[in-house]
C-alpha cells in the first residue's frame, strides 16, 4: 500500500493570477451585478412589504404571490426563464436587443432579492410597536406618510443586519450567472484553471477576492447599523474612526 500525501500548491501562481485581466473583469462583474441587484431588491422589498401589511386585500395578495413564487423557485431556473424563456416567447427584435444576457442576470437577481427583502422589511415593520403607527396617524398622517416618515426609518435598525447577510449571499450567488453566459468571478477562475489545471491556486485567487469584497461590505454594514441607531448611543465602528481620522474637522453625523 503506497501512501502519498504530496501537497502540490504553488503560491506564485496565486500571485500571478491575482490581478489577471480575466479575474479582474470577473470580480468587477460580480460586484456590479450584486450592488445593482441588492439596491433594486431593497427598493422592491420596501414597496412589497408595505403592500403586504396594507389593508387593501389586492395589494396583500399581489405581494404574497410575488414572494411565494420567487422564493419557491431556484434562482438558476429563474435565470434561464428570464434569459432564454422570455426571449424565446417574445419574438420581437427590439425586445431581444434590449434584454441582453447581462441585463437578464441583473433583472433576475433583483427580482429574486426583492422577494427576500420583502420578508425582511415586513418583519422590520412589524417589529415596530403599534403605538408608533397610532401616534403618526393621530397627528393626521396618511398610512403612506406614516410608513415613510415614522415606521420605515425605525425599522431600518432591524432591517440592516439581515440585509447585510443578504448582500454577502448575493455576492456569492452571482456565480450562477454563468449559466446564461455572463462571466463573473467564479467562472473566470474556472476558465483559467480549465486551461492550466492549477485548480487550487485559482480557487484561492477567487476566494481572496470574495473575502476582500465581503470584508469591505461588512465594514459598511457596521457603519450603516450605527447610523440607523440615531438618537441612541452610537457604537464606535472602524469606519467612523476612519472617517474621523481622514476628514479634517469633519463632524460625525
Amino acid at each position: 500500500m503506497v501512501l502519498a500525501i504530496g501537497i502540490r500548491f504553488d503560491p506564485s501562481v496565486v500571485w500571478e493570477f491575482l490581478f489577471n485581466g480575466v479575474i479582474l473583469r470577473g470580480a468587477r462583474e460580480t460586484i456590479w451585478i450584486a450592488l445593482i441587484a441588492q439596491t433594486v431588491g431593497i427598493l422592491l422589498g420596501m414597496v412589497f412589504a408595505v403592500m403586504r401589511v396594507s389593508r387593501n386585500p389586492a395589494a396583500r395578495g399581489a405581494s404574497g404571490f410575488y414572494v411565494w413564487f420567487v422564493r419557491g423557485t431556484p434562482v438558476l431556473l429563474q435565470l434561464l426563464l428570464v434569459s432564454f424563456g422570455l426571449r424565446q416567447m417574445i419574438d420581437n427584435e427590439m425586445f431581444r436587443e434590449v434584454l441582453t444576457r447581462w441585463r437578464a442576470a441583473v433583472i433576475t437577481f433583483s427580482v429574486n432579492e426583492g422577494a427576500y427583502m420583502t420578508e425582511i422589511v415586513r418583519a422590520g415593520i412589524q417589529s415596530i410597536p403599534s403605538g408608533q403607527m397610532d401616534a403618526a396617524r393621530s397627528l393626521g398622517m396618511t398610512n403612506l406618510q406614516a410608513m415613510r416618515r415614522v415606521i420605515l426609518p425605525q425599522a431600518l435598525r432591524v432591517i440592516i443586519p439581515p440585509t447585510g447577510n443578504e448582500f454577502i449571499a448575493m455576492l456569492k450567488n452571482t456565480s450562477i450567472a454563468f449559466a446564461i453566459g455572463v462571466l463573473e468571478l467564479s467562472s473566470a477562475a474556472r476558465r483559467i484553471y480549465a486551461d492550466n489545471f492549477k485548480v487550487m491556486e485559482l480557487l484561492v485567487v477567487a476566494a481572496i477576492w470574495y473575502l476582500a469584497m465581503t470584508t469591505v461590505f461588512s465594514l459598511l454594514q457596521a457603519e450603516a447599523e450605527a447610523w440607523a441607531s440615531a438618537g441612541r448611543e452610537r457604537p464606535k465602528t472602524l469606519g467612523s474612526l476612519l472617517v474621523r481620522a481622514l476628514v479634517p474637522g469633519g463632524r460625525e453625523r
Binding site: M1, V2, L3, A4, I5, F84, R87, Q88, E93, R96, E97, T100, R101, F178, A179, I180, G181, L183, S187, R190, R191, Y193, A194, D195, F197, V199
Partner: protein, 281 residues
C-alpha cells in the same frame, strides 16, 4: 478544559484515520489488480469490471440523452459499448461538465474520457489519447445566413456563442488575438452546447461554433430555424482520454479498437450515425 481537549484529539485521530483509509483504498492499485469477471483480455485497474467513462452528455449526436430518458445514446456510446464487449467489461457513462473533465479524470472520477474530445498539444501534456474519429468544426447560423458568414474570418465583430473549454473557444480566442484583433468577436461561453445554440436561436448571438456533426444535428433539429454554413474545416482526431499512468488500460483499449476496425464493427457504427466521413481507418 481537559475533557474537551481529549475529546477533540480523539475525534481528530478518528477523522485522520478515516481519511487515510479512504485514500488508501481509492489510490494506486497497480499491485492489487482489479476484479475481472470474464475470460477475455486481462483488463486491470477497473473497479467491479466496469469501464467508467466521463462524458459531457449534451452533445448530440455524439453523446446525448434522448428527450425524457436517462439512457445515454450517440456515436461515442455505441463505440464505447462495442469496446466494452470486446474487453468483456461493463460500460458506464458518467455525465461530467466539459470544462472540468480532464481535472475530473486526473482526480480519478472515472477511467477514461470519451466526450468528443479533440486531441490537442495542450491536452496531450495532461493526458494520453487513443484517436478514434476524425471530426472538424462547423459554423451554425440562423437560416438564411443573415450575417453572410462564409468562413471563420467573417466572424470578426460579431457575437459568437460556444461551449466553455472547447477547441472552438480556443479558435475564437486565436482569432481575437490575430485576424480579428481590430474588430473583436464577442465570445460568449456556456456550460453546455445546447445553451449556446439557444442563445443563437433567441438572437443573442450571430453564430455558434461546434464540432461539425453536432452543428449539423442542431440545424436538423431546429425546425428550419438554423443552418450550417459550408463544410467542416480543421478536421482533427477525437481521442479517448486516459491518465498517463493507465498504460495497461490503454493497450487493452487500443487492441479492442483494432479488433473493431478489423471485423467491421467500427465502420458499421459510424454508418449508423451517418458519420462515415469521420472514419480513421
Amino acid at each position: 478544559m481537559k475533557r474537551w481537549l481529549r475529546r477533540s484529539l480523539f475525534l481528530a485521530c478518528v477523522l485522520l484515520l478515516a481519511t487515510f483509509a479512504a485514500m488508501a483504498c481509492g489510490g494506486e492499485e497497480e499491485e492489487e489488480g482489479g476484479v475481472t469477471p470474464g475470460a477475455g483480455a486481462a483488463v486491470p485497474e477497473l473497479e467491479d469490471g466496469t469501464l467508467q467513462i466521463l462524458s459531457d452528455i449534451a452533445y448530440a449526436p455524439i453523446e446525448f440523452y434522448e428527450a425524457g430518458s436517462n439512457e445515454a445514446k450517440g456515436l461515442d456510446v455505441d463505440l464505447a459499448n462495442a469496446l466494452g464487449e470486446k474487453l468483456d467489461v461493463k460500460v458506464e457513462f458518467i455525465n461530467t461538465g466539459f470544462d472540468g473533465i480532464i481535472a475530473a479524470l486526473q482526480g480519478e472520477d472515472g477511467d477514461v474520457i470519451m466526450s468528443s474530445m479533440t486531441i490537442t498539444p495542450d491536452r496531450e501534456a495532461e493526458i494520453d489519447f487513443i484517436p478514434y474519429a476524425d471530426v472538424g468544426t462547423g459554423i451554425l447560423v440562423k437560416s438564411g445566413n443573415p450575417e453572410d458568414i462564409a468562413k471563420l474570418e467573417d466572424l470578426c465583430g460579431l457575437t459568437v456563442a460556444v461551449q466553455e473549454g472547447t477547441i472552438q473557444q480556443d479558435m475564437l480566442d486565436d482569432l481575437n488575438a490575430d485576424a480579428c484583433s481590430d474588430n473583436k468577436i464577442d465570445v460568449v461561453t456556456f456550460d453546455q452546447n445546447p445553451l449556446a445554440v439557444e442563445e443563437l436561436r433567441v438572437g443573442g448571438a450571430d453564430a455558434v461554433l461546434a464540432d461539425f456533426p453536432v452543428a449539423l444535428n442542431d440545424a436538423n433539429q431546429s425546425d428550419g430555424e438554423l443552418e450550417v454554413v459550408g463544410e467542416q474545416f480543421d478536421a482533427a482526431p477525437y481521442g479517448i482520454g486516459l491518465r498517463k499512468d493507465s498504460t495497461e488500460l490503454k493497450s487493452a483499449l487500443e487492441h479492442a479498437l483494432k479488433e473493431m476496425k478489423d471485423d467491421g464493427t467500427y465502420a458499421s457504427i459510424l454508418k449508423d450515425w451517418g458519420l462515415e466521413s469521420a472514419s480513421l481507418e
